[in-house]
Symmetry: T
Subunit: 147 residues, 12 copies
Amino acid sequence: MKIQIINGPNLNLLGKREPEKYGSLSFEDCLTGLKTKYPGIGFDYFQSNVEGELINKIHDVGFTYDGIILNPGGYTHTSVSLADAVASVKTPVIEVHITNIAAREEFRHISIVGKYCAGSILGFGLDGYRLAVEAITEIKKQSEKAG
Amino acid sequence: MKIQIINGPNLNLLGKREPEKYGSLSFEDCLTGLKTKYPGIGFDYFQSNVEGELINKIHDVGFTYDGIILNPGGYTHTSVSLADAVASVKTPVIEVHITNIAAREEFRHISIVGKYCAGSILGFGLDGYRLAVEAITEIKKQSEKAG
Amino acid sequence: MKIQIINGPNLNLLGKREPEKYGSLSFEDCLTGLKTKYPGIGFDYFQSNVEGELINKIHDVGFTYDGIILNPGGYTHTSVSLADAVASVKTPVIEVHITNIAAREEFRHISIVGKYCAGSILGFGLDGYRLAVEAITEIKKQSEKAG
Amino acid sequence: MKIQIINGPNLNLLGKREPEKYGSLSFEDCLTGLKTKYPGIGFDYFQSNVEGELINKIHDVGFTYDGIILNPGGYTHTSVSLADAVASVKTPVIEVHITNIAAREEFRHISIVGKYCAGSILGFGLDGYRLAVEAITEIKKQSEKAG
Amino acid sequence: MKIQIINGPNLNLLGKREPEKYGSLSFEDCLTGLKTKYPGIGFDYFQSNVEGELINKIHDVGFTYDGIILNPGGYTHTSVSLADAVASVKTPVIEVHITNIAAREEFRHISIVGKYCAGSILGFGLDGYRLAVEAITEIKKQSEKAG
Amino acid sequence: MKIQIINGPNLNLLGKREPEKYGSLSFEDCLTGLKTKYPGIGFDYFQSNVEGELINKIHDVGFTYDGIILNPGGYTHTSVSLADAVASVKTPVIEVHITNIAAREEFRHISIVGKYCAGSILGFGLDGYRLAVEAITEIKKQSEKAG
Amino acid sequence: MKIQIINGPNLNLLGKREPEKYGSLSFEDCLTGLKTKYPGIGFDYFQSNVEGELINKIHDVGFTYDGIILNPGGYTHTSVSLADAVASVKTPVIEVHITNIAAREEFRHISIVGKYCAGSILGFGLDGYRLAVEAITEIKKQSEKAG
Amino acid sequence: MKIQIINGPNLNLLGKREPEKYGSLSFEDCLTGLKTKYPGIGFDYFQSNVEGELINKIHDVGFTYDGIILNPGGYTHTSVSLADAVASVKTPVIEVHITNIAAREEFRHISIVGKYCAGSILGFGLDGYRLAVEAITEIKKQSEKAG
Amino acid sequence: MKIQIINGPNLNLLGKREPEKYGSLSFEDCLTGLKTKYPGIGFDYFQSNVEGELINKIHDVGFTYDGIILNPGGYTHTSVSLADAVASVKTPVIEVHITNIAAREEFRHISIVGKYCAGSILGFGLDGYRLAVEAITEIKKQSEKAG
Amino acid sequence: MKIQIINGPNLNLLGKREPEKYGSLSFEDCLTGLKTKYPGIGFDYFQSNVEGELINKIHDVGFTYDGIILNPGGYTHTSVSLADAVASVKTPVIEVHITNIAAREEFRHISIVGKYCAGSILGFGLDGYRLAVEAITEIKKQSEKAG
Amino acid sequence: MKIQIINGPNLNLLGKREPEKYGSLSFEDCLTGLKTKYPGIGFDYFQSNVEGELINKIHDVGFTYDGIILNPGGYTHTSVSLADAVASVKTPVIEVHITNIAAREEFRHISIVGKYCAGSILGFGLDGYRLAVEAITEIKKQSEKAG
Amino acid sequence: MKIQIINGPNLNLLGKREPEKYGSLSFEDCLTGLKTKYPGIGFDYFQSNVEGELINKIHDVGFTYDGIILNPGGYTHTSVSLADAVASVKTPVIEVHITNIAAREEFRHISIVGKYCAGSILGFGLDGYRLAVEAITEIKKQSEKAG
């Protein structure tokens, strides 16, 4: 089973940026944890601050991988193009946000990208990525059962 | 560890109501699965169509339980009172929705209740309840580590 | 043929409350008239000021009765949960309002509940309930013709 | 007793236009039915796609007829002038829509014309015209009782 | 003279819930103080988290008591039905809020219920209930003078 | 000097329609008064309830007359096409309203047509037409002075 | 007959300020013209840039003069207090604007003050003041006829 | 192949009205050009300022012609009825605007009519009609290929 | 104890202006009553129609008096500057409105100034000033207890 | 004559992505067709998912080419920067959309980019690119005639 | 070179009012610094809480001074009249705000006055006044170069 | 002292693009001037049309440089991600716009990015960059004084 994790803008600063809001772990620490916990899953990781490169990556893996975990960062609320990319592919995409965006500024309450995702996981810190892996595993199991 | 699951209006029809949207399992089937999977957790279950009774239940368990899993149904988008109840208690509340509300009618895009929840899990069908249990378990672990 | 009439909040005051707007007859007078006029129809009547109890009643009768006549009162404009209940059941629901809500305050112009009803009858005073019975009778005739 | 039925734009296509939404009967079929059912009532019928001609007709009959049944079609949501015409006359005007406009596109949810009508009947197909006749009959009876 | 005090959702937690915002006294402490200060007034107290039960109570006392002091809590901003109940009765209703709602989140700035109240008292903590008693006493005096 | 007076929808009912709002004189009475008062001016009068006929008339006279006095009635607030007609012609157009539209319903506060008029006269009853004649006379004098 | 002319903010610059928009005459030139044309009318003139002084002047003359001609300048669109002053007095107030505000920036389209005026005259340059005098003369004549 | 060209309000002034915006050719010049260029196509031309007559024409040809080229003029942004007419017929309708409406006033940015058209061509002056003919030719070719 | 009462625009007309809305007592009558009732309190009274003079007065007394009772009149809904003045001073400011602004025009529903006040008292006529004195007395008592 | 075709985000998936909406041809097929049909025109083709690279390409060719055909994809509705790039160059830019965006979700109804384009062609599938070539050819012919 | 500095409402409290937001220096300290730093410039200083007096001052100096530095305080967001005053004069006006208004409450994000200013300097505390002097010096240099 | 200047989309065209709005100097001319004027400051310059590359550059220098001067171009009004990048770093960021955005189209009035900047300088042409250098120098001096 192959899962692509895609982190959007400013998430490369994780652990450095506003740690009281986003925690003090870098995403690399989190990734190591996931690989240890789920040895049977192949994880690929990609981070970019460029909207179009996120789209490119979704296109690249979106017809062959079992799941995409996408944290679109600030593009969540503004990018019709990223949302269209999610809608264009076959692989189920899980939206993850580290913070509970409903509890922040009003312009963060609406997720344009989330509309086309299989589901969303909001507010659980880095643990949200683990929950997304759990969700993909179950989606795969269900679709194999159905197939 | 004790977890209260609270389901709001119309969720008593689960399995009967619009199965193409909500699936054909009743919530009781789901609950049995959770109890089997997590034998160390005491699950209490409550469903009501009455907004005020949902508030009452949150008050009852919200200072002693380890977690509340709340699917506020249609009150999600309209109930300031239910949101205030969530804000009033100590126990972390996890919002769960069976469908991805961001993909439905516009009046379902904003969650008033979610604003005060620890986190939200949207769109994974009944599997969302399992993910919420996972999330609470981790929150508890972290807070014990911190405490 | 069985028809459930459901009146929402404040309609228990009918005849007492602002008679220049709602008339001076109580609903009981109206119900007696309907029973006399349509002896072949079994009418059940339910009134509650509690949103959730209205939902309960819709669930109770919504898979077996021939029609529901629903005056949602003030919940008309605010209750997603009540609207969801209407959408959840099989029995056709007819929305009735005693006054012409389009001629009143702006917040009464939109009916959230009406969206999922089979049809709406607005502004004819208590005679609206009779028109709703007429409408249900015709819907039943058509569906039997179609069935 | 004299009743004027006025159908607005595109209703001349009834039976031809989008039959899955509006049914396959022409309005003429419906009119024949009404005349048969209510032999004591004189029905006049007028259809026009021109907003001003609808206004002219309302002016013509609006001080002498017992009732006007008006389906303003697409002018429902845009015509202040038609609404003013309804407000200008003495005869009670009943708004009828074949479909439940609250269940369609958002720009069809508000009826400018309905604001000045005696009442509205929405969503019952062509049977709405019969219900409107019933409503006018009752209004007449009440006003004679009161007069 | 008889006054009914009605507290809405979450006010049962007073003293427990967010004491930095709502103070550390329970409402019972406040009630005892009022009874001591105004021995000539009969105070009845009712609290419920259920919107419809608040409406019921307003109906019960709203034609015979001298005044109602109503803190509608979170229903203030969402309940057309509660507002209609206030409009339906004869007894003057005084809206009280412990906090200054104009200084809180934007969705708390508009009071639907307050529209039909005789007056509103906002932001004085529990002392607002005493001010409301003062206000009712004066209203009574004036209406007796006028009567 | 030639002036065209154009009255829009429902103004044919002047004197008949809601006399407490629009007065009890018909427009013909007013016209007679103007002809008497300004014998040197040729007045043409046109009334129609049809938006497009109002446009036709503006086209007809809009390149040769000295002034157009236009009361667009209910089309004031909705007709981009009528506004475009005003913008298309050379003759100055004066908007007149019998009532003060700023004091009526909110949807009457904005005049789409007025935007392209030389000026507007609102709220003076039928005397507004006389004021408009005065205004056109002055505009003509000024443009002859400038020319 | 006594008429008070009140000019609001920046109108002291008339003739100096943006002459292509407001013309090159000062208001004093206009006033001289009015006094010559209407020798039987006593004109008082007041200009201030201070909102409250405009209110004071309206109070001073608003119970004894025959008419007030008010150009509220920029306060037109923002001043509830000035509007309240107009509503508070007995003397009819005529709103005059030199330019056609409906043809300018959107924030100038709504006149808060105009709502309480007897009528409005917009876009005729300084000639608007003469038209306002004409209007007041007629209003006086009518009210004497009615009185 | 038969194509109906329908021009809406004020387009009869083409060549006369604001030539800097709409050019100095009349539509008749354009039509002659089209007939010369496409001798195998039968062109019918209709212009009216009356909304309802545009609807009538669409009904007349909309079940038999190969294409309709519609420039709805000012009705583009306001006419639900015209939009409904387009939706009611079988013939593909191509919306043409001479100017780029997205570059003009905000109220011209939304096309209600365009919503139901096969496609839209905006901003190419009279050449837009030629492009529409090209588009219809291709649509016909494709549908014959598909048929 | 010293209390400054500040009345804003048009309140000098109290007793003269729209007595059916504001009563027939002047504010001076009310002030005399307060001085009699609370002989131990020094009352200063200030009224102005000028926004900036209200600000000046708040600055003057806002660091030394025990309380300010402010009725901002029409500035309530428009004055950021007055609101800033309230926020700038130390003395608690109590907002009083004679009428229940929530029951009036929509533009009176939001109080910009109230946001920074200690509390608000709305709708009790002139008795609201007495209630405000009561509130200040209690605030003072509490702060002495706390201090 | 040289024409640059620029396709924005997700258009690389053409033929793969939602073929029921976008057709099953890739853009390369379309390009081959254009080259065959217009042998005298040099076509350059560029596709990118990166907003800034689209801007770069517009800058590169926007002072020397005869026309740019731009399908901005999802950036149509969100990119002020892309719109500014179009406004910055000399070459006329033609906006093309494969689908009729007015018939899709509301957030696709407004084209920020289209505002600065010479014209727009919407809803004709891949044939829209051919129509754009036709339009550019005509624009060139006109500007040579004018030059 | 002569520069007028104008400070609006509440800025007289500088150093006293909310020092954590506005700093602890009075404006007089700042002015002394500017005079020392720019001995060749004549500085005049004016502060008022009265909107109209700010307008008066702008009129007084706005045709002769080299620059105006204006901090409109709370009138920034509400005063069309002050904005009109800025637009009426010849002297360039520089808007200065001590705090970054874009980072404060939403109603402070829009500057009506700034629209007509030469430029704006926001968020640099009292140093903003120095930057404004720098800006005016450069504007003067450029206009002399151009002149 | 090290300052990074970052120019966003389309600013590479400075001097070429719409010179009547943006002036005829390229940014390189401006940069040379700054280096000459401030020899003690190390200036780095970066321009990109790619949103993500602007974010990358802010990350690169945002923890070590003394100041960032950022002109976000069209991303100012749309980029939550760029705003988040500004919020993420330690170095103070100064927003500069060449034109006064408050005087342009409405969609340019709100700066999302400016919200997180230390301050903003708008409308002074290229001189704004010099003012920003002045501002950073002062911020550095103050923070050294404070440190």
